[in-house]
């Protein structure tokens, strides 16, 4: 069974059809890339899947359950995580506390979370993520004081803290130093292999997407232009035209 099924999602803003009947599915353990030129509807599609905007039509299923219209909080509880295009860390909390805060709803009893001066085991999990993301030297600094690239890594690590079964990553390479992009790709591959979850990645960095993703959906003007393996997408004439012009 597909972990995510997106069926005929439509969303318009006035006369503009931002997403126009998009359908695709994501299989367990799969890393699916979503590419397309600016304005092709990728972020609107993401926000429709994640309940941050209400699509005009269509249905989204997570593990066979209809999640259309579910709030971000409900989706998170079901095992769906996300990262944002813009940084969303908690600037005054330390990096380690950011990670702990990101998973606290899912751990321990109400009374334990409320009064126990412990982290209910989340500290160990946070340390594991810190090590994986190689952020040990800044773990106790306020997240807001870190460099953009480090904050981006914190953002991604936070999404993975509760071990979600599906993670949607919105432009993980945006603003990241090009020399670190390969490292970020290796991290995501490791997370995919360790945690076994599925990822959907929106990204403009073609090299990153081609090397990371198992399958790619190419969107143009709110519609799906092509779906296929990276090498199929790279050699698809329509995709090349969409990016480079006829």
């Amino acid at each position: 069974m597909s972990i995510l099924k997106v069926n005929d999602i439509k969303k318009s803003y006035g006369a503009i059809r931002a997403v126009d009947g998009v359908s695709f599915s994501v299989e367990p353990g799969e890393i699916l890339g979503v590419i397309g030129p600016n304005g092709s509807g990728k972020t609107t599609l993401f926000n429709s899947i994640l309940g941050q905007i209400k699509p005009d039509a269509g249905r989204v299923e997570f593990e066979g359950v209809d999640i259309s219209g579910k709030s971000p909080l409900e989706l998170s509880r079901m095992g769906v995580g996300r990262t944002f295009q813009n940084l969303q860390v908690f600037g005054k909390l330390s990096l380690r506390d950011n990670l702990i805060a990101a998973a606290q709803e899912f751990h321990g009893s109400f009374w334990g979370r409320m009064f126990a001066p412990t982290d209910n085991g989340l500290g160990a999990r946070a340390d594991e993520m810190i090590e994986l993301f190689r952020l040990g030297h800044v773990a106790d600094l306020p997240a807001g004081s870190l460099s953009y690239g480090q904050q981006k890594l914190v953002d991604i690590a936070m999404a993975f803290m509760p071990a979600p079964r599906l993670v949607l990553l919105d432009e993980p390479c945006a603003g990241v130093n090009p020399s670190l992009v390969d490292g970020l790709r290796d991290l995501l591959v490791q997370l995919n292999q360790r945690q076994g979850g599925s990822f959907v990645v929106i990204e403009h960095n073609m090299d990153f997407v081609m090397k990371l993703c198992h399958r790619i959906v190419c969107m143009v003007e709110g519609r799906v232009l092509a779906v296929g393996r990276p090498e199929e997408i790279q050699s698809n004439r329509a995709v090349l035209d969409a990016y480079l012009g006829n």
Partner: protein
């Protein structure tokens, strides 16, 4: 010199009580963007809850427990549900106007429904005094200082050392991200309102023996808490503590060494000086505004 130390200790004790009300002020602002101009009346109501409970025969400690429960339900849950939640979408000014109206309404209800007269209120720590190195210190000052200190330290430990506390801080810093990460934002905001309700109830227990239970007793406390919060830094809970203690000590010293007539003007003068020189408050940080 002995007088000075006496005034200093008494000022710190009074200031720590202001600090608790100020702390509630800043917590509500940070978690939910609520500026509660009825904070003074939020101190007055638990005082009357305790009076009513004692009038039916409960001892002070039991009356305090009853007042805590009533405060969490009325000043925490109902205030959030019926006043703040419907107003939040309309912005801060709507909440300010609503809480100003609530302040007037609560005073009128207590004045018309209970009494316009001041009512004596028992002190938890008694009226006795003791001498330490020649300085006369009252048990109530020491008790207020300890009680307020315990509350503040307990709150800081809760916010910094527990999972829920960290989540509350996360919500205060970035609500959007907190929700997307699965933090129950509504619940965290309710906890903040509940904590404020507990803080004002403890403030009422400690300050009412001095101010007496009266429908307008909150005017002074609310104003001083507001000034203390601004002086210390509205977006910093430690700033609220500092602001409260500064106001308490200075008004005591000015009242004794200059004239009691200026005592109530100290907080206002300090408030004006701080917003002119350091608008973010002594420990506050510049607020970011999204445009």
């Amino acid at each position: 010199m002995i007088d000075f130390f006496q005034l200093l200790i008494s000022g710190i004790a009074t200031g720590s009580i202001y600090a608790m009300a100020a702390l509630g002020f800043t917590l509500l602002w940070q978690a939910s963007g609520t500026i509660n101009f009825a904070q003074g009346e939020f101190v007055m109501l638990p005082a009357f809850s305790m009076l009513i409970a004692m009038a039916v025969g409960l001892p002070l400690w039991a009356a305090f427990v009853v007042a805590l429960i009533v405060s969490v339900l009325v000043l925490g849950m109902a205030f959030k549900r019926f006043i703040v939640d419907p107003m939040r979408a309309s912005g801060v000014i709507s909440i300010v106007v609503a809480t100003l109206g609530l302040s007037i309404g609560l005073k009128s209800v207590v004045k018309a429904g209970y009494s316009a007269e001041p009512h004596p209120f028992p002190s938890v720590f008694g009226d006795e005094v003791f001498k330490l190195a020649g300085v006369t210190i009252s048990y109530s000052d020491v008790g207020a200082l300890l009680f307020a200190g315990l509350m503040v330290v307990g709150l800081q430990l809760f916010l910094n050392k527990t999972l829920t506390g960290r989540a509350m801080q996360a919500v205060a810093q970035n609500t959007f991200s907190a929700e997307a990460l699965g933090i129950n934002v509504k619940r965290m905001i309710f906890y903040t309102f509940a904590i404020n309700a507990i803080l004002v109830t403890v403030t009422a227990l400690l300050i009412t023996p001095t101010y007496l239970a009266k429908f307008d007793m909150g005017d002074n406390i609310g104003l001083k808490a507001f000034f203390a919060a601004i002086i210390g830094g509205f977006n910093n809970s430690r700033g609220a503590l500092l602001g409260g203690v500064i106001v308490g000590v200075l008004e005591n010293l000015v009242g004794a060494y200059i004239t009691p007539s200026y005592k109530d003007g100290v907080a206002l003068a300090l408030f004006l000086a701080v917003i002119l020189v350091k608008p973010d408050g002594l420990l506050g940080t510049p607020a970011e505004r999204k445009v």
